[in-house]
Amino acid sequence: MTEYQPGPAADPAGRRGEQDTEPSADAAWAASLHPAPAAGVPDPNSAANPNSAANPNSTAGPDGFAAAQPPAATGQPPAPSDSEQNANAELLTQLTAHLQQHRAKLRDQWAARIRDAHLLEAMTAQEMATETSSVYDNYVEVLETGSVEALQHYARDLSERIIPRGVETHEVVGIVLLLRDVLARSLFEKYQGNFALLNRVLDAYEPAANRIANTVAVSFVEERERVIRQQQDSIRELSTPVLPVRERLLILPIIGVLDSERARQVTEQLLSGIRTHRAKVVVIDITGAPDVDATVANHLVQTVDASRLMGASVIITGLSPTIAQTLVTIGVDLSKMNTIGDLQGGLEEAERLLGYNVTRQDGVNET
């Protein structure tokens, strides 16, 4: 999936200034299909820019026309004619003006709905107020400009903050859908007198709103996946420590399931560890490995052989009865492997090989 990539700050005001740049519509649409690395990284607060909130009319006129194109383009395949686009654009302008006018009321309604639905309970009221304001402003801005880049970045940023606090995917999707609903209801209310107009307003609103919901959900899930990948990496790194215990003696405890990916990593770390620590003897302790299969067992044998090529001898300790039986059954050739029952025995053997003689001093700590 896409990775977070810093880019030039998107400036909604600036974009409105050069509305004749047609590609922006295509780019925004492409971005919504494939949240590409090209996505800009705006100031998360840009959406709360007082200008955009305070000047609902700023998008009127020819500027508004181009700005409203992307949502129109997101409609069903038959491309709308120029006059339709024009009408759609005007509608969206009207619509965002309406949403900005009733910002406070609608936001409170939304916040109340969130509370009623028991969503985001991990957050304080203060945080809720801040976040709902910025989500609201972002939402309206997307309706207005048709560009989801700012929203994408904001959603990623928000996810980064709330995921560690245990906010679930359904909550995030839930609040966006609630906002969609609240705004739609307000539009119903406003246009209920004129059914044809309401129909057209909803035609303009729905695709844009769907895209927003989609963008937020995807950003959130991506962020979650990124966190999970990061954690997997750190677990992997932690799980294969190569520990020097005496000069030229390494211990490699293996805890947890050994799959072939991890086995490969163990080998890599062990071989480079042998070189760094100039080890002569390595004790691999697999007490903590619940099971091994044929592939992993063969990999282990190869590791032992490779270590020998580097001048280190390997002692394997802690083979459980199950593993021992597996190895014998699948017929892995372990005749060249030096195995010893437990880690203590392995260490003693290693010390013997290295010429250490550890003796206990009389009279120390005797009770």
Binding site: S272, A306, L309
Partner: protein, 132 residues
């Protein structure tokens, strides 16, 4: 038989010969190394040979086989051979391809190799023709 600058330097250290491989060797270079080394064992009455492959990032099956041949030929001429400096990647690639060093002892690096030889065939001063 290939000619040109040697890609392997063979250094005499009393009764030991140290062959240091500088770069990947093709088959004819490998043969040249074998012939030179075995010839010099006789000339200097060496009793120990160290082949340092630390500079190699690949070792093909012919190379590994030739190293084993050199060790056997050296043994027949009265010298013990040890291969040193096999890199981690090379070591693992070798075992994955199922080619070991066929019983030739290995050591981590030159220092370890010298210690290994010293423990088995003590180094003694050699009086003989000067090296070329």
């Amino acid at each position: 038989m290939s000619s040109g600058p040697a890609l392997v330097s063979i250094l005499r250290q009393d009764s030991y010969l140290i062959a240091s491989v500088h770069t990947a060797l093709d088959d004819s270079e490998m043969i040249r190394l074998r012939n030179n080394l075995v010839e010099q064992i006789g000339r200097y009455r060496s009793n120990g040979v160290i082949i340092d492959v630390a500079a190699l990032d690949v070792l093909d099956s012919f190379g590994a086989k030739t190293l084993a041949t050199i060790a056997e030929m050296a043994r027949l001429r009265g010298a013990l051979t040890v291969i040193v400096g096999i890199q981690p990647d090379v070591a693992f690639a070798m075992v994955q391809l199922g080619m070991g060093t066929a019983g030739v002892p290995t050591a981590l690096d030159l220092e370890e190799g010298l210690a290994y030889l010293n423990a088995r065939v003590p180094r003694r001063p050699v009086r003989g023709p000067l090296g070329d």
